[in-house]
Chain length 403, copies 2
């Protein structure tokens, strides 16, 4: 993974302060340790699931689904996977019925994932699916130790796995929450963690990533009143769900009251996919209000490349310049052209990230890069990156309505 | 369709000015007339496509695909459709290969849609697919009259349909661009237009929609420096692609240099899906910077409803309040709870839109409502709503790179 910034925060003091805070945070925040974990218990557990199981279905929402979905959808088009993976993330009845029509409940293993063990969406859906499949061996529950959900699971003699300590939902993709569904589908979780570990080392051990991340975080924090919108513009459809994961990570971590003031702060995340969104959002970046920073993500090697055939279409000869061009080259030329066009404009902070290929290792790196960036920006704009008190009010009102 | 605003612009003079401008715009801007068009030529054309064709594939990008996709994905889970519909919208080689693996090229009819007739993405993909299927009768081309693409289509004796005059891509869903693929799949395009016509009448003939739209447009325009982000929060997975259509419509229409100044302006669109994004973006709305307005969209009647079973889970008895609740009721209670929680906050402008059910008529209304809102806001913030000059620079650079 490469990263090139076209801006410079020029503030080594703030960089130093942020770095020290993150080094210290490792003592209390759990996600930093995940790349170094021993995954053999997870792999052993996965081996106990019968080979007759052809489908894995995650019942979980937000942090319990977005991470695994990002990695699965990134790898699915390029890798022969051993099982299909579905996600029940909505109480929309049309969506539940539609999903259930796509696979056979009898050959499916369900992963019920809820940190607190009382998420309304997850348990509404679980109750419904339980009415269709009441065999406890068809379920694994992933939750915090001692939660009511763990007690329930034990009472029906179903399997329970734990979340590691102090790992919040949106930082949990590299824990059991993400690794179990992914490993069950044949994703190489050892490579995934190896990719994350590379970024971790490069950040903490004074490597290349440290410069990039500190500079970028300080720039975003320092200018957050002007640039209140941060876009990822990823040039591959495989990164669509990564963008959704990023939106949760960024938005829920950084949209807060400041710790030492009464101010509302927050940077708004937007996920875009190129070249499609050149025909949608690009106009707004190019000519709209100067309130956006943009990170372009490119993939160097697309594995399954195809080539534009050497065909001349009468009256459309001007398109012959496309002939014999591999699509992978075209899509990256499109990205480069948009970057160049934006660099000609004033006041649009840009950077580019290049992934070498569509592998577990690369997506693991990208995930950990964004987790570190989020922690750094949260520290710099003075918020608690790891809580989400703003979602409680709606839950309390719903509870009252339910009576 | 119902719409309730929790804010008030209180500016009848600006409302009047915007209304008059839009009434006048009907003389030159084509989309306003689309709800009143005679669709019999489109339906007749669709009847000429063989019953052996089981799949329709659109080769088009941006305005050539997003509208049809929004309507198709809205209706697909609730309606028995006659054919499947796929969209080739990316030059990502993994995506092209993946899509082609999902259907049989031999029983597919391809709709090649390009207004200008020279879109790089569309023709790269077309050339590739043409190398797999060279029978001209497998293609219909939709383009502007007299374009090089029309001449090409005529030279190979393939069918050509035209876009109506003065209808830009992002306003074209109710023209041949959207109606042909939708009708070919069994979507009731007459109802779709009837829904649009209801909103049109209600707006231009002094109805209920006029008050709502004018008030809302003036509020958004007047406060656009503070509220530079406009969110749709739709409580149904069926509206996912509607949100993408809205993002293009809003972003590309409103992100501009002002007509009478050198200022960059623009309102940033964001599409959210509930309840999923309660576990992602809601925290940022609730506690983050006060830079967002939010429109909640609810569906009253979900057709295929299912009920949470009357099951008590040991240790999870607190969840028994969910028992016997239809999911449709739960999802709407979730929406109402979040709206109430946000109304308790200061400085978050909210409104709610309620669709009665998942029908062509309802999505037609919603589409036309948003088109009118976009035109009104564009007029009020002093931009040319219908051009997109900012996307040209990247195209010119790409052309140079291609040599």
């Amino acid at each position: 993974m490469k990263n090139k910034l076209y801006f410079n925060a020029n503030n080594t003091k703030e960089e130093q302060r942020a770095f020290e805070a993150i080094v210290k945070e490792q003592e209390t925040v759990g996600y930093y340790a995940l790349p170094n974990q021993d995954v053999s218990p997870i792999l052993e557990y996965c081996n106990t699931i019968s080979q007759d199981v052809t489908t894995i279905a995650v019942i979980g929402i937000g942090g319990s689904s977005l991470g695994a979905k990002a990695v699965y959808e990134f790898m699915k088009p390029v890798k022969e996977l051993s099982r299909k993976l579905y996600f029940f993330e909505s109480t929309d009845p049309i969506n539940i019925t539609d999903l259930l029509s796509k696979f056979d409940v009898k050959t499916t293993h369900f992963l019920v994932i809820s940190k607190s063990g009382s998420t309304v969406e997850t348990f509404s859906i679980y109750k419904y699916i339980y009415s269709l499949q009441s065999d406890p061996s068809a379920y694994t529950f992933i939750t915090d130790p001692g939660s009511p959900l763990e007690k329930y699971a034990q009472s029906i003699k179903a399997s329970v796995l734990h979340l590691p300590d102090n790992v919040g939902g949106r930082f949990s993709v590299l824990s059991s929450v993400g690794l179990v569904p992914l490993a069950l589908c044949g994703i190489d979780i050892i490579s995934l963690l190896a990719g994350a570990k590379k970024i971790k080392s490069s950040f903490f051990d004074n490597g290349y990533t440290q410069d990039m991340l500190l500079n970028k975080a300080v720039y975003y924090a320092k200018n957050h009143a002007q640039y209140n919108i941060n876009c990822i513009f990823a040039y591959s459809e495989t990164l669509k769900y990564f963008c959704q994961w990023y939106v949760q990570l960024w938005g829920e971590s950084l949209g807060k009251h400041q710790r030492h003031s009464a101010f509302h702060v927050g940077l708004t995340p937007i996920g875009l996919i190129g070249p499609k969104d050149q025909h949608s959002f690009l106009q707004l970046i190019m000519e709209g209000t100067r309130d956006k920073s943009v990170t372009f993500i490119k993939i160097e090697d697309f594995h399954e490349d195809i080539v534009i055939p050497d065909i001349t279409l009468p009256h459309l000869e001007m398109l012959d310049t496309l002939n014999n061009l591999p699509f992978s080259k075209l899509i990256n030329m499109q990205c480069d052209s948009v970057v160049e066009a934006l660099l000609d404009q004033e006041s649009i902070p840009l950077d580019t990230i290049t992934l070498q290929s569509v592998t577990e290792d690369n997506i693991g790196s990208l995930i950990f890069y964004y987790e570190l960036l989020t922690s750094l920006v949260g520290e710099l704009i003075d918020v608690n990156t790891y809580d989400q008190p703003g979602v409680e009010a709606g839950k309390i009102i719903l509870k009252k309505k339910l009576g």
